[in-house]
Symmetry: C2
Subunit: 245 residues, 2 copies
């Protein structure tokens, strides 16, 4: 399983992914799930994939091979064109692999979050499905999640708005990841955190977060303690005293 999440705020985009790939709890590996395509100052594209690892790797491989060609992701005029191109790459892998996978009862299971900024556009964020179709984030829905999404959803729903700063949005995604890590063994460290600040056309910040990272420990321990304090500050349910019977 996997957990990837990205959010769009007025200041830009934030991306966070775990690095756990597994085919059963006794067979766990670590693979990076975040890929960058960048011409600093001109354009930056961030890709996060979830699903069958052979499919996500094939899609990213195909996009990388095409970098020298006319249909490179680095030559698309808009981020919507980039999302479309990722969708087409997914469809190519489907045509090549889906029938053989289905003989082994393996579903063609893949999804991508695609975000970034191309000079002349504001930063944009997309979700590309296994069928190659895609949706874009909106004012009402400013974030996308892949994989093990539910544990970490409530905090994003409560905190992220258009005016949330990039630093606070990044903190929110890390808290969301922490809740997911605690509840699901198959999501794992290290994490990849990336920030694209509006107007820069590049990866403003990319950081690999390991368990020993001081800030991560402060968030992890501080959030747990803050939650417990907040919980204890609320009044308990009042229960009638024992009747002595």
């Amino acid at each position: 399983m996997t957990y990837c999440v990205a959010a769009s705020v007025d200041e830009g985009l934030v991306f966070l992914s775990d690095s756990r790939t597994n085919a059963g709890v006794d067979q766990i590996s670590t693979f990076r799930k975040m890929t960058f395509f960048e011409q600093p100052g001109e354009r930056v594209i961030v890709l996060m994939g979830a699903g069958n690892l052979s499919i996500t790797q094939s899609v990213i491989g195909a996009l990388q091979e095409r970098l020298e060609h006319a249909n490179s992701v680095l030559k698309q005029p808009t981020m919507a064109d980039v999302a479309h191109m990722v969708g087409e790459a997914v469809r190519d892998v489907y045509r090549r692999d889906a029938a053989a996978l289905s003989l082994h009862n393996i579903a063609f299971n893949v999804e991508f979050i695609v975000g970034g900024e191309i000079r002349g556009e504001v930063p944009r964020l997309f979700l590309v499905y296994a069928a190659g179709n895609f949706i874009e984030s909106t004012v009402e829905t400013r974030y996308f999640q892949l994989g093990e999404a539910k544990y970490g959803k409530p905090i994003i729903d409560r905190v992220i708005g258009p005016e949330t700063s990039l630093g606070a949005a990044a903190k929110c995604l890390l808290v969301s990841m922490d809740s997911t890590l605690r509840s699901n063994l198959t999501v794992g460290m290290p994490l990849d955190l990336a920030i694209v600040r509006r107007g820069e056309g590049r990866v403003t910040l990319h950081q690999t977060v390991v368990s020993e990272d001081g800030y991560w420990q402060r968030i992890r321990d501080g959030w747990g303690e803050a939650l417990r304090n907040a919980f204890h500050a609320l009044p308990d349910v009042e229960i009638p005293p024992p009747t002595g019977g």
Copy 2:
């Protein structure tokens, strides 16, 4: 969808269920999901069911019909025997309905949380599966959830321990329910809250919680505010200032 949750602490048991049954977002009904069997002072059994409503109702109906017979849930010597009896009732409905349901591609989808206290035993908590088999809560896993479980799981993992008071455990399940209600439309008010205090052999407290309930509003609003305050008190991710380029 549904969300039911129950926790076992040293002081006793807490049960909480929503009351939303649906077959699509445009077809939502309200049904109670909590059933009591009680001989005050002697024994108390609390049942919460999730899954196909015709199946949960058939199981509870069968248990109610048998109350006058030798194999009544009120005549079982232990809570494990009660859980076994619920499992047998599930198997009876399976034998009667599963083949016909499968002709309509409807899965035999049902699960029950069964908890309570029989004089001479400590309070005990079980989860009964669709196959009629069951598991009991342990020192390490003190709670069971049915239905839309993930949104509300992190707070339970962080807060509930053996020494948690019944009032605090009930508050925790309500906070867990609040997170679920916010993230999933198909879980809905009103709620049923029940508490079985150890040694009493009866329903110590049963309360139907409606949206207008003052305590519920205090938890709902207070928790949201406390979460946001806790979040803002943690340091944001530091992002390098713009280069001015």
